[in-house]
């Protein structure tokens, strides 16, 4: 048996787009292994998410529903994933390296006594052997690794695996038993979720990202938002801009924030520290606007504009608008 299990991510009853990247991996891995892939949806009130998952070409959609799974807690979800993987003789468990996947999957791996290859950007197959390419040292080196345990656990970088599209067929949906959690689950309690609401596209999925740095100060939104609006872009930020409170923390792009690889990335008033580059170097076209001609961001930019951002960005916004008539 050499089947793949995709751990879906659901929020507010709906399937998150992160899931589709893991499915893309699963299609490649299952093909190499000569097996099939299933998608596991966990939660409470996740029928809609399961129905959506059923469009993604899986052999089965497995649903673990229980009141105790209504809010995500790794201590409760990990046993569910591990139990399904064991019971069904799964060879590879995969999820996406979103905040959710990064929290959950290493716990799953430990529970299964499995090796874990995290945040991979490529799958290299040779017959039925799977090797994983993963970035290290803030993306300054890539390692090719394999996992030596009977069950392997993998998380994929969302920007490196294109979202799978619907297959046409409907997968059968099957309810599965919910494994009993360990003692850890009794000692953790969800208190609250302070959500940053935004009507913009999600950073990791956007085709265009406009990011601002420390230089923007209190004018962050005043300068960045209009440009993002004309470009239909997601807004990102450097760590310095987040730390100073000019932008919310979850917009941070970089080694320790979100990894993005849009068609167009515009870096405004960002110096280009190595940790920032790690999060956006994979973008197709990079534009940098910085008043310092020697700023390291220009080393990765396809188009660099040496200018004061406070005049250049409003001008750019105006001209893009005009060019579109």
């Amino acid at each position: 048996m050499a089947d793949v299990l995709v751990v879906a991510e659901a929020a507010e009853g709906k399937l998150k787009k992160t899931t589709h990247s893991a499915v893309t991996f699963a299609r490649q891995a299952a093909a190499a292994l000569g097996g099939t892939y299933s998608i596991l949806v966990i939660g409470s009130g996740v029928d809609a998410a399961a129905t959506e998952a059923a469009t993604l070409g899986a052999a089965k959609v497995l649903v673990a529903q229980d009141g105790s799974l209504g809010v995500y807690l790794a201590e409760r979800y990990a046993p569910v994933v591990a139990e399904v993987a064991k019971a069904r003789g799964i060879a590879v468990v995969v999820g996406t390296a979103s905040g959710y996947g990064k929290d959950l999957l290493p716990r799953v791996a430990a529970r299964l006594d499995a090796g874990y290859a995290s945040d991979i950007t490529g799958l290299v197959t040779e017959g039925s052997s799977l090797k994983y390419r993963r970035p290290m040292f803030a993306g300054n080196a890539f390692g090719l690794c394999s996992v030596a345990t009977p069950i392997q656990v993998v998380s994929v970088r969302q920007s490196a695996f294109a979202a799978a599209d619907a297959s046409g067929a409907q997968s059968p949906v099957e309810q599965v038993a919910v494994a009993r959690p360990g003692a850890a689950a009794e000692r953790v309690e969800f208190v609250s979720f302070d959500q940053v609401k935004s009507t913009r596209p999600e950073l990791a999925e956007a085709k265009v990202v406009v990011s601002g740095g420390r230089a923007l100060k209190e004018k962050f939104n005043q300068v960045i938002d209009p440009l993002a609006d004309v470009l239909g872009a997601a807004v990102g930020a450097s760590r310095a801009a987040c730390d100073a409170g000019y932008a919310p923390g979850d917009l941070q792009v970089g080694q320790t924030g979100k990894i993005v690889a849009p068609q167009l990335y515009v870096a405004v008033g960002i110096s280009g520290a190595i940790q920032h580059l790690a999060g956006m170097k994979g973008s197709k076209v990079i534009v940098a606007i910085n008043k310092d001609a020697d700023a390291p961001i220009f080393q990765v930019a396809d188009y660099g504009l040496v200018a004061d951002l406070f005049t250049a960005v409003p001008e750019l916004t105006k001209q893009i608008q005009a060019s579109r008539g």
Binding site: Y100, F190, G249
Partner: protein, 275 residues
């Protein structure tokens, strides 16, 4: 409160673009780069110090902070530096990086936790050389302990920690009853991020980690530093993840500087075709 902090030394992360990969591709060469503590682990240590003190009198430690590293003899320097900033005791598990993977570190840490019986294990969310982001979560599972990963705030409560976690789309707050594992994110060292029961909520820390004063550096030489053999912690020293080779990242071709905004718009439209 007794806290165990896992601390790894890494090749200078601010110069990670200077790592080299030999043509054979058999390793990542960090020669010439200085060793630094993994920044997230430094933050974990700072959080541990804040949790075991009254912010006003940081020298009177309310509890114990034990730092542990897995590494060769030279990593004792990293441990000494941690002792100088305020940790009470250090443990070095003798092993080299190439003989470790995240699962093995977690396995060995579990045995160490069973010996040391800390109330909290604090560590960085990821080591910025391997960028794996797994040891904390794996350790929590092996111990069957609750965890709070990617912590941006920690507030001590009676027998518990209230932790604000950086997640996609905002901040999620968890309460974990002790003992527990907490992994920290960048903003844990902001001025109002960590409070022990003793520290007044009005207290503001300096932004970032504290530095050791010269007398403390001298005094740290007398603090206990123990060496432990990996084999004493786990009989199974096998690696679950094996590396077969390394490559440099794909090179980006050099870009150009545009004349002005009009030039930029024209090129984005006609050349790059992204508008």
């Amino acid at each position: 409160m007794k806290i165990l902090v896992a601390l790894k030394r890494v090749a200078d992360p601010d110069n990670a673009n200077k790592v080299k990969i030999p043509p054979s591709g058999d390793r990542i060469d960090t020669a010439g780069l200085e060793w630094k503590p993994n920044p997230f682990d430094e933050y974990a240590l700072e959080a541990a110090l804040r949790l075991t003190e009254d912010g006003k009198a940081p020298k009177a430690r309310a509890g114990e902070v034990v730092v542990v590293t897995f590494g060769p003899k030279e990593t004792e320097q990293t441990l000494r530096a941690a002792l100088a900033t305020g940790a009470d005791r250090a443990i070095r598990v003798d092993v080299t990086d190439d003989k470790l993977d995240g699962a093995l570190v977690a396995r060995a840490l579990k045995a160490l936790v069973e010996r040391e019986k800390p109330d909290v294990v604090l560590m960085g969310k990821q080591a910025v050389d391997g960028d794996s982001n797994q040891v904390g979560q794996s350790l929590a599972e092996l111990l069957d302990w609750p965890m709070a990963t990617f912590a941006a705030t920690i507030q001590e409560e009676q027998g518990a920690l209230l932790v604000g976690r950086e997640v996609d789309g905002g901040v999620a707050v968890l309460r974990v009853r002790l003992p527990a594992v907490v992994t920290v994110d960048l903003r844990i060292v902001a001025p109002t991020s960590v409070y022990s029961l003793k520290t007044a909520r009005t207290h503001k820390y300096n932004d970032g980690v504290r530095f050791a004063a010269l007398p403390a550096i001298m005094a740290s030489k007398k603090k206990p530093l123990a060496e432990v053999k990996l084999a004493d912690l786990t009989a199974d020293s096998g690696l679950k993840v094996q590396y077969h080779g390394f490559e440099p990242p794909p090179a980006r071709k050099a870009g150009i500087k545009v004349k002005d905004v009009a030039d930029l718009v024209a090129r984005l439209k006609n050349e790059a075709k992204v508008l």
